[in-house]
Symmetry: C2
Subunit: 330 residues, 2 copies
């Protein structure tokens, strides 16, 4: 890294530490663009000690998650809490753009200095979304928000993985035909700490509630029994109860902190970070040189990619060189 860019990064980190929002936004952009500085930034700002409640909100498209979050933010702001919202769009893998609609509903909060809203769109990169989400949450924690809300739309595997970041996962659904079945098929029932049946003025809300409660019952006693709440976010009904349950679960999580699980979580996180960085370096190395003969052979179809991978992996010194060279070249 050059001295000039080094200084620029230091200034950015100082401004971040002083609570400058623009510095936060700039650092998030570095993460989105997979800048080479990200590892340095993360190492400097990493701190899991912070007492920040990370709330995940997920559920099928059309469940009204954005409106619910909008109302939830209002309640948290009334308690003077600083709130960050990270909305993760399952947007186009090609354009990286999101369809307008959900975002604009949050309009009221955009001018509130106690609320930070950021939308993260995918870039079609395999695994990149989970990594970016984890890094941005680390930045938001370091910025000392009181509550961080992570919204994932859609019901896919990546979206489930991202919910691992949350202390409390809220699964939102609506009383439409078969919705509790869809929740179960998507595996959402397994990760829910709180269920919300939104748009509860529609027919069938009580039935969905009963089905979800039965499901909770069948899971047996696991210490925390996920409540099933009825809300009408559009009419601001039921949000107070949601806030109470969030507080209650957060208290539960803190009371349950298990040193063994905490160690496992740290090792898991370390493995994620290491493999993310290995992956970055390997991709970089394939693009930028060190393995170009192998790449040419694979590209021309002369060598099958599994054989090429074995070739590299079976030679520890080649591997070490490959991964460090590429790092030097950035």
């Amino acid at each position: 890294m050059s001295n000039a860019s080094n200084n620029r990064l230091e200034r950015l980190l100082s401004r971040f530490a002083a609570g400058d929002r623009l510095a936060l936004a700039r650092l998030i952009t570095l993460v989105e663009n997979r800048s080479a500085d990200v590892a340095t930034v993360m190492e400097r700002l990493y701190s899991r000690a912070a007492n920040v409640h990370i709330v995940g909100i997920t559920g099928p498209p059309g469940a009204g998650k954005s409106t619910l979050i909008d109302r939830l933010v209002s309640k948290l702001r009334a308690r003077k809490q600083q709130v960050a919202v990270l909305a993760i769009d399952p947007s186009s893998p090609f354009s990286g753009g999101a369809v307008l609609g959900d975002r604009v509903r949050m309009g009221d909060h955009y001018n509130d200095p106690g609320v930070y809203i950021r939308s993260l769109s995918t870039r079609g990169s395999h695994g990149g979304l989970s990594r970016a989400a984890r890094q941005i949450v680390t930045l938001l924690e370091a910025f000392k928000f009181d509550v961080i809300i992570v919204e994932t739309a859609g019901v896919g595997q990546t979206e489930l993985d991202i919910m691992d970041l949350a202390h409390t996962t809220v699964v939102v659904t609506v009383p439409e035909g078969g919705d509790s079945i869809q929740i179960m098929k998507a595996g959402l029932n397994e990760i829910a700490d709180i269920f919300v049946v939104n748009k509860a003025d529609r027919d069938g809300a009580d039935r969905v509630k009963a089905e979800l409660e039965l499901n909770v019952h069948l899971r047996g006693d696991t210490g925390w029994r996920p409540p099933v709440l009825l809300t009408q976010a559009a009419n601001d009904i039921g949000i107070e109860t949601l806030v109470q349950q969030l507080d209650k679960h957060w208290e539960y999580v803190r009371s349950q902190r298990d040193p063994v699980k905490e160690c496992q979580r740290r090792i898991h996180e370390f493995a994620e970070i290491l493999t993310d960085q290995l992956e970055e370096r390997a991709r970089d190395a394939l693009r930028n040189g060190p393995a170009h003969e192998l790449v040419d052979a694979v590209s021309a179809g002369r060598l099958n990619p599994y054989a090429a991978a074995r070739h590299l992996l079976d030679d520890p010194s080649a591997m070490g060189e490959l991964l460090s060279k590429s790092a030097g070249e950035r």
Copy 2:
């Protein structure tokens, strides 16, 4: 690898080559269990020369994808084609189990020796689903099916990534309120080669068709113009047209094969395979020893995981040793 297990693997590969279905099933199970033999199997069976049409079928939950596939398989069987179906469940990240329902509809085909049906459930492992899907498709290609159908349920990022495997991607929707918007929000319109509006006897089918056609129109001329088909899979209506369009698109894909793109695809695949294997080895190394001091420090909270990762990555020989040792230990 011991000689005994080596011999067992060789026998399995011979039986596979002779067209033994049980051997195919056994090899798929190795992939699912992430056996250490997978790399060897893949290297031996990798062949992209095969003239196998890979059809991806995706769309929101409840669109009737399984019924559609059931009917599609019947038509392909009537032409004496050998068909494989790989259904990828967005099932529980905890139990690995799928909810019954969709699968059982395919009952008629389970006893047909010309059809192979396999359901792949996730094991909650980050990135593991795409890898397993790619490897299983490679096995199915090598087994010389004529058509491989890959179904993903859900609308998440992983599910979109898996659709990269397909030559032809079919996006299935239903004429329900806002469904074409959901398709666009999920980025599905960008990957569709063929749109299917299923359950087209319901109100609004023509409107959804018109919206999707407008969307195709706005994308501009890209050579292939995705058709929007109306089907009623439950009544076996419109499936013949779908088969015709699949043939047409497959012909189009083969006529368009661009040597430059083909090279890019191979390099992309190589990068995937290499980084998958790197990731496996790194995780293994963290679990099984070589880096245990670092792991202990991270686990105890004495060292932050980004610092620990930098420590390893900055030392090429440690890195090389780490990745190869773990391989030896398996």
